[in-house]
Structures are given as C-alpha cells and as structure tokens.
Symmetry: C3
Subunit: 314 residues, 3 copies
C-alpha cells in the first residue's frame, strides 16, 4: 500500500498477544495540523508511560506519525508528582517546545502544557539541498530526575516518532524496540516483547537506544538497507545491507522487512549482540506465524524454550 | 580482475608469513549449490576453531565466499566435547539452520549436522526493492557455554563470510580481522596478526566484532568508502570516506584498498583507536612490501620495535 | 558562497565569546603546496595544545583546511619536555610523516620536525573508483605517554582537519567539538564551549572522538544528512538524516546547518546523549542569536540556568 493523500492509521494489529507497541496514532494529511492530548502516568511496578488517553499509558508510548509538512500539537498532561516533559528528535520546534529545563520547557506535576512539532520536506537554499524531516525518530522525557530526564527514561518515558515522506510505503504491522539500560522496553527475557506477524506481512521495526549502555541490535534471518527507509532505491544501490547495527543512547533507526521472506515462518530471535547483554536478558522472539495465523512447526517448542530456559547453559 | 562466470578462489597467498586468515574457500558459480564439510576442533592453548579439513582448524576460521544466488550446504562436524553450532549473518536459512539452541539447531559433542545457507540478488516486490545478500558478513558459534555462544566466541569459533554481487571486483589478497573481547583474532600485541601485501596489490579487509567490548578499527595511511564495497560508484558519490570505524559485537564490514597507494610501502599500523585498548595490545602491523616482495626502508626496524617495544612509554 | 579557485580563510569570527575553536588556517588553492609552522606548548592548568604561533596554542588546535589536490607541509616545533608528534586522519603521508613511534616519526623535546600531508581527488584505477581525500578529518598526537599518544590526547593535542572538494560550500562559522574522555574540548559543564552564531548563518560543526569512552553527539533543533557533507544531493537522496550520532575514539564527522532554520533563535543544547555523561558535564549551549546579533527572548535566562544549575535535579 502506497501512502496516499488521505492516509489513515497504518497498522491494525489483529493478532492476539501483540505486545510490543501501542497502536500508532493515525497520520494526518500532509500540510495539516493535528492536535492530540498525551498523558504521562505511573504504571504498576514503578514504570511511567505516555498514553493517548487517561489510564492508557504504555512503555514504550504510542507510535506517533507525521507526514513531511505536517504540524503536531501535543497537549501533554502530567499526571505524576514529578516534573517531566516531551522532547522530540528529528522535527522542528521553538525553544518553548524544547522539553528541556534549560529552556524552562517542562510540565510541573499536574500541569497541562502544549508542545508543537513542525516538519518539512527537503528544500533548496543558497544552492544546497537541506534535509527534510522524514525519518525514524523518537520522543522522550528531558526533565525528570535530572536536566536530561535520566529518571524519566529509566522509568519508561519514551516512544517512537515516524515522519514519512510522500510515497513512502506503509507497513502492515510495526514494532517499537527500545534498548534502555540493560532492558528491552523496560523488560528482560523471558519477558521481553513477543513480536508477532504473519508470513509475508510487511513489518516495520523502530529501534531506539536510551540510557548509559551501548548496544548492537541483531535480528535473525532478516536484513535491511542501512539508509532512511531500510529499502533499496534499485538493484545497484550501494547502501550497505545489515542485520546488526549499533543502537546507542539517543539514536534511532527503522526499517521494513517482509516477515519470513526467503526463510519461512518460525520463531526468530532478536537480541543485543553484546554477549553479556544477551546472556543476561536482552533477547526476545520475533514470531513469524504461517500466513493463515497458525503456528509453524517447531515454533511452540522454541517459545517454550525461551520462556523456560533462556539462561546460561550448564 | 572482474568477477566472471567461472570464478575460482580469489586469493593465492604467496608471501611467507601470511598469518591473518586461512585460504578462502573458492566461490562457486552463481546459482549453484556447493557442499563443504567443516570441522570444529580444539587447538593448542585453549582456542577452538573451524576448519575445512580434520586437523585444519584456525582462528578465525576460513573465509567462506558465495555469489548472490548461490546455496552453501555445510556439514559441520563437532570434534569437541561441548555443544556448538554455526550461525551466519546476512544469508537466508530456515529455522533448522539457525544455529541456535532456541531452534534446537546445534551439534551435540561428536555430532555431524547440516546447515544450509541461501542467497539472492536484490528483488522487487510490491513496488519496493528489497535488499540482496551481498555484503561482508560473518559466521560464528551460537551454542557453546550459553544460548548465545558466548564461550564459543571467546575460544575462537568465528570467521568471515563474503557474499559477492555479479561484477564485484576480486582482491589479490584478503585479511580477516576480528576484534574479539580485548584481542585481535584471539591474539594481542606483539602477537597480533602480521598482515603482509605488496605495493599495488588490491587488499581486502573483513573486519568483525565479537564479545562484550566496543571498539573502533583504524588503519594508517589507507581509507575506504563507508558503503557496501568500500569503493565509490563515481567521482560524485557522496558516501563518507573513513579510516576509523566502529567495530562492535556482531557487526562486520569490509573494504578493499590498494596497498601503499599514494603513501608508499612500509610498516603501517592497524589498531583499535580506544586508547587503553591499543595501549594494552589491540594493535598490529599491515606490512606493505615493495612490489618485488623486498622489505622497504625502515620496515624491519619498525617490526623490531613492534615486537620488542610495543608497550607504554617510560 | 561557493568554493572558488582562490579560496581564502573560510570563517571570520565576529562575535565576542567565540571560544570553541581557534581561527582556521586559510585554505590553499587546489594543487598547491603550503607550508606552516605549528607549535606544541603547555598551557595553564596542565593542558597541552597545538598552535600556529609561539604562545598561540589552543585546545583543540587550529582548524586546518586543504582542498583535494593540495599538499600541506607542517614544521612542528615541540616546546614541551616530552616527546610528541602530529598524526593525521584522511590524508596521504609517507612513513616518516606517520607521527608514530613505530615509524620513528615524532619530535623529541625541543625538536623541530617536518610532516608532509598530501591529498587527492577520487580517481579511477583498474576499473574501480577509489576514494578521494575530502572529508571532516582530524589530527592528533601519537607519541606522548604511550606509543599511541594517550597522554597527549588527554592533555589536549588534537584538532580538526578538513579536506574540501571543488564545489563544496564554505561556512560562515565553524566549531570543533571534541568528546575526549568525559570532556568536551577538555572542559565540562558549565565550562563547555559556548558556540555562538547568528540566525541564518551557515554553521559548520566538526565532531571528533578521543580517549577511552564511547559517546553519542546530539544537537537540539538541528539535523543533518549522515554523509560526507551533511547536505543532500537532491530531494530524493536516501541518506539517513540524523540529530544524534555515535562519536567514538578516533572517529570524526562534520556537517553544516543553517543556524535556527525553521526553529528560530535561542539557546539550543548540544550534549552527549549517554545519560550519565550529560548529567556529569558533557553538555554545552549552541547560542543562536538574532540576525542582528542581539539576544533572543529567553536566551539569557537559559544561559544563566546553564551556568548556575546544570546539575542533577533534587
């Protein structure tokens, strides 16, 4: 499906157990201004998340999507007892939407505050082409605990932000994977997100890094072009193709793969490739079901092993 | 030399002292299936390596090469007393060739087991171009010690895997350089691999990262384009040119340089650019001999310094 | 302003308080040989810097610029009591200009020694295009303290080296930002460099990593293409656009932004995005003044916060 003029929500999760990300916010039309309200709230177990409804906070927060040219106005409601904010990567904002204490741009406990994010297409100026806004970006707190939001990040105040360019291909399904500290989306194996898709679906990954540690993201049996979209412009495109990529604090990337293409359905691991990180829990399963949604041979056994035995071998 | 239809082994090491990599496996013709047997065996000093013959194991293992479209069937024989496997990056494989305990895909001690790797050219699907398999990849154990093969990697179960695209240029000589833990190919200075070539030869480096530490690979007096091949598509190619690149666990890259081009023969260092890593032994010599194979002025003195004095200065 | 045949110094710092880098050395004409003298000298507080005049050393050292095809001859004078050298990235040099003890290429205390750096355009050889020298590179000591110059780097012997290609756009202003150890240009907040420009100026950043730690460089409200120049070749250029990038030992990159473009004047943070690095001082301010040089609303308050309160929140 190609992105059209009247784009709507890009995914419609249909499988039970889709746990990695909340449903994405429907993308607005290019050049339009959209207003949403987000809520920062405490969750059971000590996490704090962003959500689109009161009581709807998740870790990571919802996938926010824009088209180049769009403006997004976010009314952030702080339902916690600590100061916090929302700071985006990749988009344009004035200092009062910076989300940083440096610019006095944050929500006090209980406060509602508006943040405005703008985007643009690549444009020519003074003889050169300046970048547009399209990319796999992210948003996060920049105020809780320290002036850089260190406590907010540890507790889960982060999410994916996608800015698409006219003509970009939309996925059937999408997953946000955040390497935060020594966790994946604040979880560790065997509780890391189970990412489920069906054979042949176009699956979009948005990978984000946060915290103090350095990581490498590896996906078994699938690979992508290391460029803006993860796809090639043609057969002679010199872009490196990778299946393992640095995923370090503040960075993000995204890509689309066709689930199981050339390799079949099955339980495919995704994990940090730093050995003591994967061994201690930074590993999960990308479950590619058969096209009809049924479990492929061997997959249940693999999940059983993951849930029961994903520990060092004795 | 351009890759032709009946490609054969790409290098013919002719210099004494070529120590960095075993001779590469001859590339098969495009679209063909080739079968090899590999042996995992213990080596003196505690290392464990892969080899193409019984008693022929090395660290790193042999360079395996394929053309896009080829299939490689590997019968792996485990001649150790521990479970192990072979897991590839960059190619297509079914879950039973995953090489992971998650998918019950490994060799018990003494077991022979087949792993099948497939490759493909870039292809168009649903209006987009999906990546092919060409790249500088690698293979490694994914089962010894932990479910991620941590002990196998520490002991040397890793090697380079190159998938070439029709038209790719073949090198005169190639070197595998693996930053594993705080070692280079499980060695430290002054025992790091001596990489030898002659002035003007086309030399291919395959750089691979493994273990728990993060590194940067630096080569003196030579540089490369940071893309799939290390070469430019033309004079206006905007690819960044680098001589220092992150080399982190699970990642790999490769490139070709013309030995001594523009700088002359000599003893050129390659090393991790993290200061306490190079200071403690992650440094070796890329010895570019004269075109006739003789030693260039000053090179023997440099080697003597490397072997005798590569320690912190007092 | 496009680079012309008779290029001169590319920046003319006009604002008071421009502290991040010394004035760059005027670029020579393409194909020309230029000779300069540099002095390595101790500075108050224990730093050691490179300078273009006796008593003129700075940390980082001066920005050195060349055009592809140029040769730069540097007579380095060591006015310290320790051995040291100058080792470049990205350019061509013979072993006697390697700057390494391995090649007996360094200055003893008090010694004057010549280092010669050559550059070239991309060129075709044996059917392939080999990289030229253009890039955002750097130079540094490779001899003080250890054979890799570890002590020299800690004390400040580093600087930016830019090699430009014919047609490259020149900036109005440029800043060298070196993440060395846990510092920025050997400083920590609130003493990190204040980078000042005016709204609409073309600002060039040269980012360099050194030492033992890994970092990510983040700039608020501005972004760049992750290629050789930071600019796009056109609206369909697939290069990823980033505002956060790994900046690790021995690596460097550069880019140009239009100060405040689309976001306005203000006090914009730049910082390492590793949380405990920014929290402990790896953060500074990119102050975009109004076009007439006056302070934008809120910017003084932001600076006051930076100077007084850039510490963990209680």
């Amino acid at each position: 499906m190609l992105a059209g003029a009247a784009a709507v929500g890009v995914t419609a999760p249909a499988l039970a157990g889709l746990t990695a990300a909340a449903a994405p916010v429907a993308a607005a039309q290019q050049g339009k201004t959209r207003r949403i309200t987000m809520y920062a709230e405490e969750l059971p177990g000590g996490d704090i998340g962003y959500g689109l409804t009161p009581g709807g906070a998740t870790v990571p927060g919802p996938v926010l999507e824009m088209w180049e040219g769009d403006t997004l106005e976010i009314d952030l409601v702080n339902n916690t007892d600590k100061r916090l904010s929302i700071h985006p990567h990749g988009v344009d904002y004035s200092t009062d939407s910076d989300g940083s204490p440096l610019n006095d741009s944050f929500n006090e406990p209980g406060e509602r505050r508006r943040y405005v994010w703008r985007t643009r297409e690549p444009f020519r100026k003074d003889g050169v082409w300046l970048p547009g806004s399209a990319g796999y970006w992210h948003y996060h707190d920049h105020a809780m605990g320290t002036d850089h939001g260190t406590q907010g990040l540890i507790r889960g105040l982060y999410g994916a932000l996608i800015v698409r360019r006219k003509g970009d291909v939309l996925p059937d399904r999408q997953f946000t994977v955040v390497f935060q500290g020594m966790t994946i989306n604040n979880k560790m194996a065997p509780h890391a997100p189970l990412l489920e898709a069906r054979l042949g679906e176009r699956v979009e990954f948005i990978a984000i890094g946060h915290g103090d540690f350095f990581h490498t993201f590896h996906l078994h049996a699938h690979r992508w072009a290391d460029n803006r979209t993860g796809l090639l412009s043609g057969p002679n495109d010199p872009t490196p193709v990778v299946d393992n990529k640095d995923l370090n604090p503040g960075s993000s990337f995204g890509f689309q793969v066709v689930a199981g293409e050339g390799v079949g359905a099955g339980a495919w691991m995704y994990h940090c490739h730093v050995q003591n990180h994967s061994d201690t829990g930074m590993a999960g399963v990308f479950l590619v079901r058969n096209a009809d949604g049924s479990m492929p041979a061997g997959a249940q056994e693999a999940l059983d092993r993951y849930y029961g035995h994903n520990h060092p071998h004795h």
